[in-house]
């Protein structure tokens, strides 16, 4: 049973620019994945305790201790653009 999805919307939400052929191709692939998920969902699970994680472990914490950070130069080394110690990005609203 094919699952109906708005592949263009999914692509937009993920900010992935897809051509019409790609939309069709990925739409089919995603539909197959969702069909599989539906089959799993249909399995009888009465009496099976829900699990949120495969490992029987909780609370992997870190003590509240400050460790060393990157220097400003190191942090900005990978920035496409930087200015006055900041990461520089194109204008956020409207056309860049």
């Amino acid at each position: 049973m094919p699952v109906d999805i708005d592949i263009a919307k999914v692509a937009h939400l993920a900010r992935i620019d897809l051509s019409d052929e790609e939309l069709a191709q990925y739409g089919e692939q995603l539909s197959v994945i969702l069909e599989y998920a539906e089959r799993v969902s249909a399995l009888p699970t009465d009496g099976v305790e829900p699990t949120s994680h495969p490992l029987p472990a909780t609370n992997a914490f870190r003590p509240d201790v400050v460790t060393s950070s990157l220097t400003n130069e190191e942090a900005l080394a990978m920035a496409p653009e930087a200015e006055d110690g900041y990461f520089r990005v194109p204008r956020i609203l409207g056309e860049p």
């Binding site: 900010r15 609370n59 509240d64 900041y86 609203l93």
Partner: protein, 482 residues
């Protein structure tokens, strides 16, 4: 038609003042040079794994407990997916189903009326970076480009969401103020609105009376004081009422409070249905806050502001004095110690919230910079109750103690302010005055109570103004009534 009624819900974000960030060891600091407290985790470099800060979880459990919430034993982190330049991972680690706390409540008092605000949930998340828009006047719409500082990225953030229970802007403000007091009392955040360590978003709608369906709501952001919270909500209620009365429609949107103009402005961001595609954070294990942890936090909970105010009123202060004392840890601490040392609570409360506060303002000092101790307040209180010092003179003495001139008794003696309250001595003085003024005394005995003042005045004259006038007046009255 019934009157318009507002329906208000508040979302509050509180930055926790831990030493390090929520998921990495970078320092939590305000006002440092940009991008100096970042690392692969909070910059979202490939392969970095977030590890939650135990102290931050402790902090949210404290907040949830103080807000009478259910603490969920099992709790999960989720990814909230959206794109914005201040969010380096393109998702915020937050919570969705199974937040740490749910079903809480907070009682506030407005105009003497108690009012309960339901708390829907309290969840744990991380803060974003900070952006600065470069251009004309620093506004995002006119900016040529923006600059990003990720020092704040990943700072532990607690979101507290109320039920739509609030009905007036005054209640909203009282809720915000009480929440701020609680967070400060718990010591988990300095909750400074102007610096953004506490931030409010107000959801407001209006409807025709309490039985009508909820109207369409707007969400107002950028409210950075308690006063602006009240003003922004008042503006929004008026605006929506006007739009609806003119037959218009309210658009569900995010609005921005403009403090200078005193108006809310539509953000005019292209409306797009929110679709955060939440899914469980696969890099993290579930949280388990067991019964022992919950009970320990409850047992260690400090006295909350409402409990403190009630205790002060119980000791004898009026409600306003209790509020002033409870709001200021230094003044409240002095008051507590003074009362413990034997001071009269009502008297001590008034001295501290009036004389001491006025002195601190005038001299631009903090309490620790003065010479005043709780023992001084207790000594002063005992001197007044014993009749050694008039309450008028006590204020001068208190100011001299604050200035470092000595103990209350030393100052009162040096300034010759000690009253004579030795009743044997004073009775002899009263008798002497009566003997010298038999005509006047007959008038008094005949019921002319105005004459009491004359006799008190005479005794004061004979004692150089040092007799306790209350005691003398009482003696004269007793003698006149035989």
């Amino acid at each position: 038609m019934p009157e318009w009624e507002a329906v208000i819900g508040i979302e509050t974000h509180v930055e926790l003042q831990t030493n390090s960030k929520m998921f990495c060891g970078c320092a939590v600091a305000f006002g440092e040079a940009p991008n100096t407290n970042t690392c692969p985790v909070c910059l979202a470099l490939p392969g970095a794994i977030p590890v939650p800060n135990e102290e931050a979880i402790e902090g949210i459990v404290k907040i949830g407990t103080a807000l009478d919430s259910t603490i969920n034993k099992d709790s999960l982190f989720y990814r909230k997916n959206y794109f914005y330049p201040d969010l380096p991972k393109n998702y915020q680690i937050s919570q969705y189903t199974f937040p740490v706390c749910e079903f809480g409540k907070l009682e506030i008092v407005v105009d003497g009326e108690p009012f309960v605000v339901g708390i829907t949930r309290v969840h744990m998340e991380e803060d974003t970076g900070k952006s600065r828009h470069v251009g004309e006047d620093g506004r995002i719409h006119d900016a040529s480009h923006s600059l990003l500082d990720f020092n704040r990225s990943g700072v532990p953030l607690v979101e507290i969401v109320t039920e739509p229970d609030i009905r007036t802007a005054e209640q909203a403000r009282a809720y915000g103020a009480e929440l701020q007091r609680i967070v400060r009392t718990l010591g988990v955040s300095d909750a400074r609105l102007e610096e953004g360590s506490m931030r409010f978003d107000a959801n407001v709608s209006v409807r025709r009376g309490p039985d009508a369906e909820f109207g369409t709501r707007t969400e107002t952001k950028n409210v950075n004081s308690l006063r602006s919270l009240q003003r922004a909500i008042t503006f929004e209620i008026d605006r929506q009422t006007r739009v609806l009365e003119e037959g218009g429609e309210i658009i569900q949107e995010t609005r921005h409070w403009n403090e200078d103009k005193g108006v809310t402005i539509s953000m005019r961001i292209k409306e797009e249905s929110e679709d955060y595609r939440y899914f469980q954070e696969p890099d993290m294990l579930p949280l388990e806050i067991d019964e022992a942890w919950q009970q320990r936090v409850k047992a260690e909970q400090p006295e909350l502001p409402a409990q403190k105010r009630a205790r002060y009123v119980g000791l004898g202060t009026d409600a306003h004095t209790a509020e002033l004392l409870a709001d200021d840890p230094a003044l409240g601490g002095l008051f507590d110690q003074a009362v413990q040392a034997g001071a009269n609570a009502k008297q001590a409360g008034i001295w501290i919230t009036q004389e001491v506060v006025a002195y601190l303002r005038r001299e631009e000092k903090s309490l620790v910079e003065t010479a005043l101790s709780a023992a001084h307040v207790a000594e002063l209180s005992e001197m007044v109750s014993a009749g050694d010092l008039s309450s008028t003179a006590s204020k001068d003495v208190l100011n001299a103690v604050l200035a470092g001139d000595g103990t209350p008794r030393e100052i009162a003696e040096a300034k010759d302010l000690i009253q004579i309250s030795d009743s044997g001595f004073l009775e002899a003085e009263v008798d002497a005055v009566i003997a010298d003024n038999t005509d006047a005394f007959e008038k008094l005995a005949g019921g002319d109570m105005k004459m009491i003042g004359f006799f008190v005045g005479q005794v004061m004259k004979r004692t150089g103004g040092k007799a306790d006038p209350r005691l003398v007046s009482e003696m004269v009255r007793n003698k006149a009534q035989g």
